[in-house]
Amino acid sequence: MTVYLLCFALFLVGLYGLITRRNLIKIIISKSITEFSIFLILVLIGYIDKGLAPIVDPGTSQQIYVDPLPQAMVLTAIVIGLATTAMLMAIAIRLYRKYKTFDIREIKNLRG
């Protein structure tokens, strides 16, 4: 149970950063933290107590294996997260070149 609560705490930390930070890069870091808390929850969903990695070996008597499907999901999701983070960083650098600042309070052309 504590593990799930810790994941939730990490999620809240990320969300707090996402809402309160004013720096473009820090917002991206908060987004990544939130994302990783969800990845951790996904991995926990597939975990079975005392389970081994799901490589079935007829020689051993071990019967319990963890669920491999959430692991595959998390791998894919990490790749997607990497793509979005890279894209966001590229945009943030371009924004810095145009505005000469990372502060979102000074980047506000779009209103209404």
Binding site: I38, T76, T84, I91, A92, G112
Partner: protein, 512 residues
């Protein structure tokens, strides 16, 4: 037949990478290859559409089919509802690409544009065809990441800011969706939409699934920009290049937002009264607030973007009413009208909103401004743009004989039949507000005294642009044929049946 299904995803993917590689070497390759790809896709859609006839076909990826009645692999499903979405996506994609041939000529790195465009098409086709929850998420991100890049394509101040906002909110939506998918897997131990339905029907833990449903509504609501989640839409849709705005507003928010909401809440979850109320309320709120926000805008593309929110509200409200009526169970005719009206309005909105964004692009192409106050007197200088945009405006504000009139009429009749008098009144009032702000657009852009001194130099837009606008304007008229009962029986009825008999989707796939 079923071998065609993966080709809908593979062909645009291959063409995206071919354009990326060969576009730099062969001059003008990308301009002709990308529309050609979309033409092939349209031909395939027509073949599938003619042969489907209300049934559904499945394709098991890699040959991993059913194992003792349990789907072990990834399934792709094509049924009467998704084939309608395929029609919209590929047709509008082709028209927007044809339009881009002359519109995008002023930008650099054109081959990247066409390549990303093909990626959007591949992602949306994947979302529509996928029968597996996680696979759906992956295709959703393929199309959405490509659209992040395309929104920022102009790399100006506003484009970058809009894209940044869009990406932060979009990835927040993706996290919520991912969490919901994980929670569904936790309880049901399966990701196949049909199989999940079987588990849900066997009785389930109510509060847990209501939490999952709320997460999914928030996640896909962010992608579809229904009102509390709409903050990114007016920025992103107004900053993108115009053919992309037409694609985003006309197709993307439907394919990755509304389509998925409808598919999951009709065919995966068992209907529940609370969730249906939430969907109806969200639809009604975004309908009203979207139109009120649109009427105060002086930026043309921003006004069109807000009007998209309002029109999406109509679709969502009609679908919510459909679920409520089905749950009551004593008024099936009204439920058919509501669901049919929703689907019909979704198709219509793709056509007229695409057309209006292309018109806005044509004006921007010649005048280099999006502000309504700087336009004026264009009706004599740009007759084709003026006529087609008039048809689009009348169509979206619901004037007969254009298609928007009939779909709104069907939704309003359904609301009155189902005794939702408040919703019917709201729908009529919003339709009048819509007429008001489109008359404002017509007056300030085309009929006002010109504020622009160089008006005599303005010419009509080149052939590819005017041609695509004419096609869409003709479709605005032609689609009103769908209101004729015998035609709608042929085209809309199979799609309505897929949603009405909500068990049928899962039982045909599992094969019970």
């Amino acid at each position: 037949m079923d071998a065609l299904i993966p080709l809908f995803i593979v062909i645009p993917l291959i063409s995206a990478f071919l354009i990326m590689i060969l576009g730099k070497l062969v001059k003008g390759f990308h301009r002709y290859f990308a529309p050609f790809t979309l033409l092939v896709l349209i031909a395939m859609t027509i073949i599938v559409f003619a042969n489907l006839g209300g049934s559904s076909i499945q394709y098991a990826v890699g040959g991993w089919g059913l194992e003792k009645g349990i789907p072990v692999g990834i399934f792709m499903v094509l049924d009467a509802f998704s084939v309608l979405m395929l029609c919209i996506i590929n047709l509008l994609g082709f028209i927007a690409l044809f339009y881009s041939i002359s519109y995008m000529a002023k930008y650099t790195a054109e081959s990247n544009y066409y390549s990303l465009f093909c990626l959007i098409i591949a992602g949306m086709n994947g979302v529509v065809l996928s029968g597996d929850l996680f696979n759906l998420c992956v295709f959703l991100e393929v199309s959405v990441i490509a659209s992040y890049a395309l929104v920022a394509f102009g790399v100006g101040k506003t484009e970058l800011e809009a894209s940044y906002k869009y990406q932060i909110l979009g990835s927040l939506g993706f996290m919520l969706i991912l969490l919901a998918v994980g929670l569904i897997y936790w309880k049901t131990k399966t990701l196949n939409i049909a199989d999940v339905r079987q588990v849900f029907e066997a009785g389930y833990n109510q509060p847990y699934y209501i939490f999952v449903q709320i997460l999914l509504i928030a996640g896909f609501g962010l992608k579809a920009a229904v009102i509390p989640f709409h903050a990114w839409l007016p920025d992103a849709h107004s900053s993108a290049p115009s053919p992309i705005s037409a694609m985003l507003s006309g197709v993307l928010i439907k394919a990755v937002g509304i389509y998925v909401i409808i598919r999951l809440f009709f065919n995966m979850f068992v209907f529940s009264h609370e969730i249906a109320l939430v969907l109806t309320a969200l639809g009604a709120i975004s309908m009203v607030v979207g139109s009120l926000l649109a009427i105060v805008q002086w930026d043309l593309k921003r006004m069109l973007a807000y009007s998209s929110i309002s029109q999406i509200g109509y679709v969502l409200m009609a679908m919510g009413m459909g679920i409520l009526l089905l749950l009551k169970g004593n008024n099936e005719a009204a439920a058919i009208l509501a669901i049919g009206g929703g689907i019909y309005h979704m198709i219509n909105h793709a056509v007229f909103k695409g057309l209006l964004f292309l018109n806005a692009g044509a004006i921007e192409h010649r005048l280099d401004t999006r502000k309504l106050k700087e336009m004026g007197g264009l009706s004599s200088a740009m007759p084709i743009t003026s006529t087609t945009s008039f048809m689009g405006s009348m169509s979206i504000s619901g004037i007969p004989p254009f298609n928007g009139f009939f779909s709104k009429l069907i939704i309003i009749i359904a609301a009155i039949n189902g005794r939702f008098y408040l919703l019917a009144t709201l729908a009529v009032v919003v339709s009048i507000i819509t007429l008001a702000y489109f008359l404002k657009f017509q007056r300030f852009a085309f009929f006002n005294k010109s504020a622009n001194k160089a008006l005599s130099k303005i010419r009509e837009v080149p052939f590819p642009m005017s041609f695509s606008m004419i096609i869409l304007a003709t479709l605005c008229l032609a689609l009103s044929l769908l209101a004729i009962p015998s035609v709608s029986e042929l085209i809309l009825r199979p799609a309505i049946d897929v949603l009405m008999q909500s068990d049928l989707y899962s039982t045909t796939i599992i094969g019970i």
